[in-house]
Amino acid sequence: MPFIQENSSALALVGLTVLFGGANPRFFTLSNLFNILDLVSLLMITGSAMSFVLMTGSIDLSVEGVVGLSGVIASFLVKNLSNSNDFGYFALVVCLGVGLLFGLLNGAIFSKLRIPSFMTTLGIGYITNGIGVLLTKGNPVVISDWGFRQLGVGRIGFVPNTFIIGSLLLVIMWFVHERTFFGRYILAIGGDEAIARDLGIKVERIKVGVFGLAGALYGIVGALLTAKLGSGDITAPRGFTFDSIAASVLGGVAITGGIGSVPKALIGALILTILRNGMILMGISPYVQQGVIGAILIFTVALTLDRAKIPVLK
């Protein structure tokens, strides 16, 4: 019984694969699998970033804004049709920096002003979105840097570049989580912040760091997204926040904090992507998908919520 409980998401993943594969053999074609890998690569990055935030017991609603803004900035920096910049891969570094900046801003406001994370990140998400709209005035900048675009659309063998980059980032995240102080303390803080504080853990610093890390990852995703689409569109990341949270929850990351890991985030991202992919193959409209996933999200949270942790429900 404990085995089933603890590995429920992995089992669900296997179950889903069998289900969809059985319903539609097209599921197992090489091109479909490539599709899945491609779709999951960005989600696994934002999903693990979100998992880190969720593990500390907070939430990050600024994903779309930060991803969008850094995507826009990337489009301005690489060779494009609107200005004479040609920074190439350096744009990735800048995007990481921009994401990091806003992430740290989230963390600072959250811990210094004690504004609940949903509000802080909602506000920052809105503001970054506004800046992105301001910069593009509604017209996405089209990029012409072929090399940069390869990051988003190219592949090695049948594995998409985005998946390779995503996997690399995931390995780094996994290492940080398992083998550094910072990574270990995240779960302690989410488990019981008062105890963690009592044991001398610098809670505020870690929380700020987590938001910063998440932001940096969103920044990279923004650049990759621009590479993929060929332009810096502020509206491109629509739905990313919802998906990142759904992926984390489906993978077994607790909304109340204290439980989670990078493998869980990965499994969750795979579950969500396969769900979507499977539904498309079954001919279910993408519009309906959002609703289905919303319902599954509520259902999963209701089942896995640790109610003892919530003295007064707000």
């Binding site: 404990p2 550094t180 102080f181 779960l187 302690a188 989410g190 488990g191 105890i195 009592d198 001398g200």
Partner: protein, 509 residues
């Protein structure tokens, strides 16, 4: 007393004084700990044991007095500071993180010992964890998530962690404070536990706080008794006995007049509330009693007695596993405070500021809170009626407030409590459950509350009270229920002649 060699003295606490708003918790208390000993600390609820130890482990700071550790004066800024000096406390609400593994909990905050430049070697951690667990005779797998361990195992883990981290900070003899450690342990586990404690004594000193005198007498080398925040004796194991300790724990002059015993009437015959064989596993077992019209029933007990849980059950905050509750002869099931109130049961919680009142609302709103739905003129709140009711209550209970519109936060503790009381009178309650109704209230106000309790009794309202001291419980009650470790040990009658605190204490500990 046997002569002790000075170098054996590990810790001295001298002249410790500590006050909280409304109460002087510790008054010139002294407490010593020798090297490699188990020293017991006993006293009634509120005698100051927990406060003294909280000062020792860095949670509070003393108003006066000093702490001398290994010959050097120390002052702890916070628990972490105390930990670094080797002093830590293990409470009931454990400070272990169930979502992490054994090894992770063991080394939480001290991972520096296993890492280079911030990166760990998991292998090293698990190996060291296994080593330490073996030292303490613990056999569980260090990679196991803690939520899989039993309470006893977690407790041992926490003890192991505290001792290990003290020794890692180069402390020669750590001091481990255990606060009621056996409350949730089974018989077999307790024997094992004591054996382990004796082993631990070889490398540390232990302060053992417990209300179970039999355990204290058999385990401890020396025993301190606290009473009303002052020292009431230090005894060697050889001279200590349960009766001796009990006699030192109580012994205040019993001032019946203070509790207005002359105003105590007789309860009527009609039974308002009956609890029949109620059990809540882990909390209380087979509890039965009755409350008649106008009867005041006190429940006495130490930590873990289950008295708070019984009260919670009566207000729908806890569901019993077995047993029945009858209100006015009819069997009822109370699922929530809503239902309890509908049955005519009221509840005065321990923490009136956060649970008894909505502090920033005015007196008038708090007084009429439960009956607001019924106070209507059409769809609107009948403000006039509301005011009338509030003013009537202010007058009747003698609540000192500038106006009914004053926010309750501005009232003194005693008057706040009167507002809480008036809330229930307004809703025509039949049985009132009161948890520590006079806590944190000044002497004069306490008497007013006693007077009110006598009044309510005359009116036929049944009351269940958890008092702050045996004297209060005895003074107010018609009947005293004594509970220990979840069971009713005795039912003492207090209508005609009052039992003495010692009479009660013998059943409590």
């Amino acid at each position: 007393m046997t002569v002790r060699i000075l170098s054996d003295l590990l810790l001295e606490m001298r002249g410790i004084c500590k006050s909280f708003p409304g109460v002087r918790a510790l008054d010139e208390v002294y407490f010593d700990v020798l090297r490699n000993e188990i020293v017991g600390l006993v006293g009634e609820n509120g005698a100051g044991k927990t406060t003294l130890m909280r000062i020792l482990c860095g949670i509070h700071r003393p108003d006066q007095g000093e702490i001398v550790l290994e010959g050097k004066k120390v002052s702890f800024k916070n628990p972490r500071d105390a930990r670094e000096h080797g002093i830590s406390m293990v409470f009931q609400e454990q400070s272990i993180l169930p979502n992490l593994t054994v090894a992770e909990n063991l080394f939480l905050g001290y991972e520096g010992f296993f890492s280079q430049r911030g990166i760990f070697s998991k292998r090293k951690i698990l190996a060291k964890a296994k080593e330490i667990l073996e030292e303490f005779g613990l056999t569980f797998d260090p990679d196991l998530p803690v939520h899989r361990l039993s309470f006893a195992e977690r407790q041992m883990l926490e003890i192991a962690r505290n001792i290990w981290s003290a020794q890692a900070s180069s402390v020669r003899t750590p001091i481990l404070i255990l606060d009621e450690p056996t409350t949730f342990l089974e018989e077999k586990e307790i024997e094992l536990f004591f054996a382990k404690l004796k082993e631990i004594r070889e490398r540390a000193s232990i302060v053992y706080i417990s209300h179970r005198l039999s355990e204290v007498v058999s385990l401890c080398d020396r025993i301190y008794v606290l009473k009303d925040g002052k020292n009431a004796g230090v005894f060697d194991r050889a001279e200590a006995s349960e009766e001796l300790l009990r006699s030192r724990m109580v012994g205040r002059k019993f001032e019946g007049e203070y509790y207005l015993t002359d105003m105590q009437g007789r309860p009527r015959d009609e039974v308002l509330l009956e609890v029949r064989n109620c059990t809540k596993r882990g909390k209380f077992y087979n509890v039965s009693f009755q409350v008649a019209k106008g009867e005041v029933v006190s429940i006495c007990g130490a930590v873990g007695s289950g008295k708070e849980e019984v009260c919670q059950m009566l207000f729908g905050l806890l569901k019993p596993d077995e047993g029945d509750i009858l209100v006015e002869g009819r069997k009822v099931i109370i699922n929530s405070p809503e239902e309890a109130v509908a049955l005519g049961i009221g509840f005065i919680p321990e923490d009136r500021r956060s649970e008894g009142l909505v502090l920033n609302l005015p007196v008038v709103e708090n007084v009429t809170l439960p009956i607001l739905e019924g106070l209507r003129k059409g769809a609107f709140v009948d403000s006039q009626k509301q005011m009338e009711i509030a003013e009537k209550m202010i007058h009747r209970l003698n609540i000192k407030t500038p106006s009914p519109r004053t926010p309750c936060a501005n009232l003194s503790g005693g008057n706040q409590q009167k507002v809480v009381l008036s809330k229930w009178l307004v809703s025509r309650v039949k049985v009132l459950v009161m948890l520590h109704p006079t806590r944190g209230i000044d002497v004069g106000a306490k008497q007013e509350i006693y007077r009110l309790i006598r009044d309510l009794s005359k009116q036929g309202i049944g009351m269940i009270i958890l008092g702050d001291s045996f004297e209060e419980d005895i003074g107010l009650a018609h009947k005293i229920l004594v509970m220990k470790d979840g069971r009713v040990q005795a039912v003492l009658d207090a209508t005609e002649s009052k039992p003495t605190p010692a009479d009660v204490l013998q059943y409590v500990v």
